[in-house]
């Protein structure tokens, strides 16, 4: 009896703590939403709840091209992640199976992710403008994002390949596969969850980048974070519109996170972080 009571209290305490965490997490969203439906004068009265909701900010934001910026961000993220996976997976496999370069290389791959963007931006810019065709397109953003997403994805995948039993490829080789066929047809399918996790993670990083995008994207190629920052101007901060833009930027990610969370967890637990 006493035991059940204690269990109940523990569970209740756990629940209350998690609810508290939920409040802390959701309060800023909730408040941003409120701001996005208040008229400009009501925004300046934070504790006044007697306002009439308005859709003006949402309409203005949608007219202002936020959907286009979201599409840009989506494309940049997808292209970056696709390239990163296509180039990173074979490399990770080489590091894992053939231990190319040994442990220091693995570590170097991780360190590559950490390079301060400030060290790369000037040469990257010069590189892009000498190519002429890339500057002013979303490829500029893709290339800059690859500098941190490619190493990260590779490093993630090394751990996953470590987990794949070697028997698999050996069996495939016995069955007459070339090493490449064994890799593509046998090994890769087993780490799809890992690739999904790494890819999603890379996508989130790309979607959220401001530093590179601010400098490298212009005009209609602007990405969403640049658009969001754009509501903070010398005509005064259009808080209503900015709140609506912020929500548009974060909603897809929140929804995405609901669906992918389990996948991400499974993928990460599969070896990425145990492989260091």
């Amino acid at each position: 009896m006493k035991h059940t009571l204690r269990k109940f209290v523990t569970r209740l305490a756990t629940f209350l703590i998690l609810v508290l965490g939920l409040l802390v997490v959701f309060f800023p969203y909730f408040w941003t939403f409120l701001t996005s439906i208040k008229d400009p004068a009501a925004i300046n009265r934070p504790l006044d709840f007697s306002f009439t909701p308005t859709a003006m900010h949402w309409q203005a934001v949608i007219r202002a091209g936020i959907p286009r910026q979201a599409l840009n961000s989506f494309l940049v993220g997808m292209i970056t992640v696709t390239i990163a996976l296509a180039a990173g997976a074979p490399a990770a496999y080489a590091f894992s199976r053939f231990n190319v370069g040994g442990a220091p290389t693995r570590f170097a791959v991780l360190l590559a992710e950490m390079l301060p963007p400030s060290v790369l931006i000037v040469p990257l810019f010069l590189l892009l403008y000498h190519t002429q065709v890339l500057l002013g397109t979303i490829w500029a953003a893709v290339i800059s994002h690859l500098t941190f997403i490619l190493p990260l994805v590779t490093w993630f995948l090394i751990g996953f390949f470590d987990e794949v039993p070697r028997d698999l490829e050996e069996q495939a080789r016995v069955d007459g596969c070339s090493p490449w066929q064994a890799f593509v047809k046998v090994v890769v399918p087993t780490i799809v969850p890992g690739m999904a996790a790494a890819g999603l993670f890379g996508f989130v990083l790309s979607w959220n980048d401001l530093f590179y995008a601010l400098i490298l994207t212009t005009g209609s190629q602007r990405t969403l974070p640049v658009g969001v920052a754009g509501y903070w101007t010398f005509r005064g901060v259009e808080m209503g519109q900015m709140s609506a833009a912020i929500l548009l930027a974060i909603l897809p990610m929140i929804l995405l996170s609901f669906f992918v969370q389990r996948y991400l967890l499974k993928g990460l637990g599969g070896g990425a972080i145990t492989g260091i």
Binding site: K7, T14, F15, L18, G21, L22, V25, P28, W31, N44, P46, L47, I83, A86, A87, G88, P90, A91, Y93, A94, F98, V100, L110, L111, A112, E113, M114, P116, S118, V119, L120, V122, P123, L124, L126, L127, S144, T147, L150, T154, W207, N208, L210, I215, L224, P225, V228, A229, I246, I250, M253, S257, Q261, L265, K266, G267, L268, I273, T274, I276
Partner: protein, 288 residues
């Protein structure tokens, strides 16, 4: 046919190698060369080689070292808090008995998916001393907190980082917990271990490599802190929240002194590498 004569394992590395060569190794080398020159973006064509002068001058640049100190303080505080909170929450969410576990898992993870500039701007307005809801509400119960005054500003930035990135720590640690083998726990349970004792003697030792990985990933990212400062304090009051990333950005892209900025970046890389190596040695030794 010469391509096929390259050993298989190197062929596998080629796509990544070529990409990194173009977008990383080359820029790095270029940057290193810039760091050895008097190189101003507004005086292109007038660069001159000055050896290590940019680096030597950094030693007497007190603002640079203030920014370095701030950034390291920020990283230690933020990652430390995130680790403690994240580990605690991960334990709760790992426990199968927890009510509505799936729901909490998906909702508590959301902040890490948001673009940091949006987070910075949201908190700038939430914490505005006259018109923000948090100070207004605190004042109603008689509390006055000067969030962005000289004493608290850096800590407030830390709290914003904690809000956004504890979920990431939680995610990594939770993934780690899920991947742990069941046997040691069973054995401990048979021995009568419960609660905190179990966590301390079984979970933490088993989790050590995962904690190390999570801390390093988070740390490398935290060193890039930029958006919150750009959105809220611009490095003030005084130099209280000046961060490396913001400082280097200003030197290079606002003051156009690319040579100095590159030297700062390389110095930062050296410091980070040393810190990571230190962390590795300490944590690895403890686990051995």
């Amino acid at each position: 046919m010469s391509f096929l004569r390259i050993p298989f394992k190197y062929r596998l590395l080629m796509p990544m190698g070529l990409i990194l060569l173009a977008i990383m190794i080359f820029p790095l080398g270029y940057s290193l060369a810039i760091s050895l020159q008097d190189y101003e973006l507004s005086r292109i064509g007038q660069e001159r080689f000055i050896g290590l002068d940019n680096y030597i001058r950094l030693f007497s640049n007190s603002s640079f070292w203030t920014a370095m100190g701030n950034t390291i303080t920020f990283v230690v505080l933020a990652v430390g808090l995130e680790l403690v909170l994240g580990f605690f929450l991960a334990l709760l969410l790992h426990n199968k008995a927890t009510f509505m576990r799936g729901f909490f898992r998906s909702t508590l993870l959301t902040p890490m998916f948001i673009t940091p500039i949006a987070v910075g701007l949201m908190f700038r307005f939430l914490l505005n001393s006259q018109l923000g809801v948090i100070p207004t509400a605190l004042e109603a119960i008689g509390l006055r907190v000067n969030w962005f005054g000289p004493d608290l500003a850096l800590f407030s930035i830390v709290l914003i980082d904690v809000w956004q990135w504890t979920p990431f720590m939680l995610l990594l640690l939770l993934a780690g917990l899920e991947s742990l083998p069941e046997d040691p726990f069973e054995a401990a349970r048979v021995d009568g271990a419960v609660g905190w004792a179990m966590v301390r003697h079984i979970t933490i030792p088993l989790m050590r490599p995962i904690i190390l990985a999570a801390v390093i990933i988070r740390m490398l990212d935290a060193f890039k802190v930029y958006e919150y400062i750009y959105a809220i304090t611009r490095g003030g009051p005084g130099e209280a929240t000046e961060s490396m990333q913001y400082f280097i950005y200003r030197t290079g892209f606002i003051y156009f002194r690319a040579g100095e900025a590159a030297a700062m970046s390389f110095t930062l890389i050296i410091v980070i590498t040393l810190l990571v190596a230190l962390l590795f040695t300490v944590l690895r030794r403890e686990s051995a």
